[in-house]
């Protein structure tokens, strides 16, 4: 088993829209992943206005008010899951309700246990 990070992106407008109707879909996804023992963590992020970006690329630590890239789409949530391989992780990503109005980036988590 490997760990995969599923990063959920959408626009701030979509994120702010009323999503009460799709709550059962989220709860169902979370419950089924938990039951299958695949879910390590999941969370919804606060809006990008609360983000601070840290860099030391210039040699000194600099803080920027805001998310890393000013693009139309922003990171709004995540799942940290266990999966056998990429296909299984992609299978979970396809089940995230947000895919209909956003994107899910699937990133393997580096194995640092060596």
């Amino acid at each position: 088993m490997s760990q995969y990070m599923l990063l959920l992106y959408t626009t701030e407008e979509e994120e702010a829209a009323d999503r009460a109707a799709e709550m059962p879909m989220w709860l169902e996804l979370n419950r089924s992943l938990e039951e299958a023992g695949l879910l390590t963590a999941t969370g919804r992020l606060n809006c990008t206005a609360t983000a601070t970006t840290v860099t030391a690329m210039s040699g000194e630590v600099e803080l920027t008010d805001g998310p890393f890239a000013i693009t139309k789409e922003v990171l709004v949530g995540y799942y940290l899951i266990e999966a056998e391989n990429l296909d299984q992780a992609l299978g979970v990503a396809k089940r995230v309700p947000l895919v209909r109005y956003g994107r899910v980036e699937v990133r393997p988590v580096m194995d640092l246990s060596v």
Binding site: L86, D87, M110, V114
Partner: protein, 409 residues
Amino acid sequence: MSDRAADAVTRAFRDERAAVLATLIRHVGDFQLAEDAVQDAYAAALTTWPRDGVPANPGAWLTVTARRRAVDRLRRDRSVADRAERLAELIRLDQQEHRTVSEESSIVDDRLRLIFTCCHPALDVPARVALTLRALGGLTTGEIARAFLVSEPTMGKRIVRAKRKIADARIPYEVPRDEELPDRVRGVLRVVYLIFNEGYSAAEGDRLVREELCSEAIRLGLLLRALMPDDAEVSGLLALMLLHDSRRDARVDEHGRYLAIGEQDRARWDQARVREGLRALQRSVRMRRPGQYQLQAAITARQMEEEPDWRQIADLYGALVKLTPTAVVELNRAVAVGFADGPQAGLELLLPLLHDPALERYQPLHAAHAELLKRAGEREGAARAYRIAIELSANAVERAELERRLQDL
């Protein structure tokens, strides 16, 4: 070195490399290590076969040798995470030596695994193409770079990055499950057809390398058919590629001008290829599952007849447009209808395309529009359309041809 042994190594490289590599990737669980070990095995064959004779089963010899070289490489490389387990597995495999029937059939599966891995949708399309040509076609990085007009280091990086992603993201080395299979097969066919078209259509680049791409794509098509004989689209794509390839030498005239099928010198068609293509088409049609490649092959076959039946061709385009409603197909359908039912009927189908702002600068649309208007006797409209098409032409030969037609009006 004896010529016979050298020939045997060359032949084994051509015929066995993909199968040996495919099996070894499963055994060692690592694309790069498997590739290096297979390379080692061929180097070993070059020194051993001339001295000891060519083994009875070159593929088996290469697989065993490559596996042992992989063991050597793993022993030297201490950075690999699960080195101990991999070594144990390889040594276990080495001891059970004799190939059984199930091992033979798993060789077929291994090549399928390799194809599906190389064409995995998590890799970007240029990487899929490069990896497929490298792993299954046995082209060198330099050859692939020349065929796609990029520098060798760029192509090298593309391939290395793809292999790293397969390892790090754990793209599975397996044939997709039934529910994913149809989509994934389509993805594979797309890669193969892309390889073929890259070799067939472009005028730029090294001609020999480009022709090599067509041959490789057909070889991949044959391999896919051997592995998935019951898939109608696999046979359909093979038919399409063979029918195009049969006209390879006839498709341009001595000035480098592209000729439509009806203008080509039929004596220069490769009749053996034509027959092979028609056989593949029949086989695909018999499965009664029409798909986009089968329909395109059927259309090509009809167009290659001495008296093309435009009614049938137009109907086939009608079926194709339902499966792939792209501007190119809509345009070709309008042209076919223009021949079947007269230029007015064709022009009517062209109308929505001419109103689509996305196609405003689509040169073939204006060239076809001009032809239909000319045949409908609307000289002024035709002249206008020719001028737009000429302005949008990227290549000199094509532009000259359109100018000639404009003069003829």
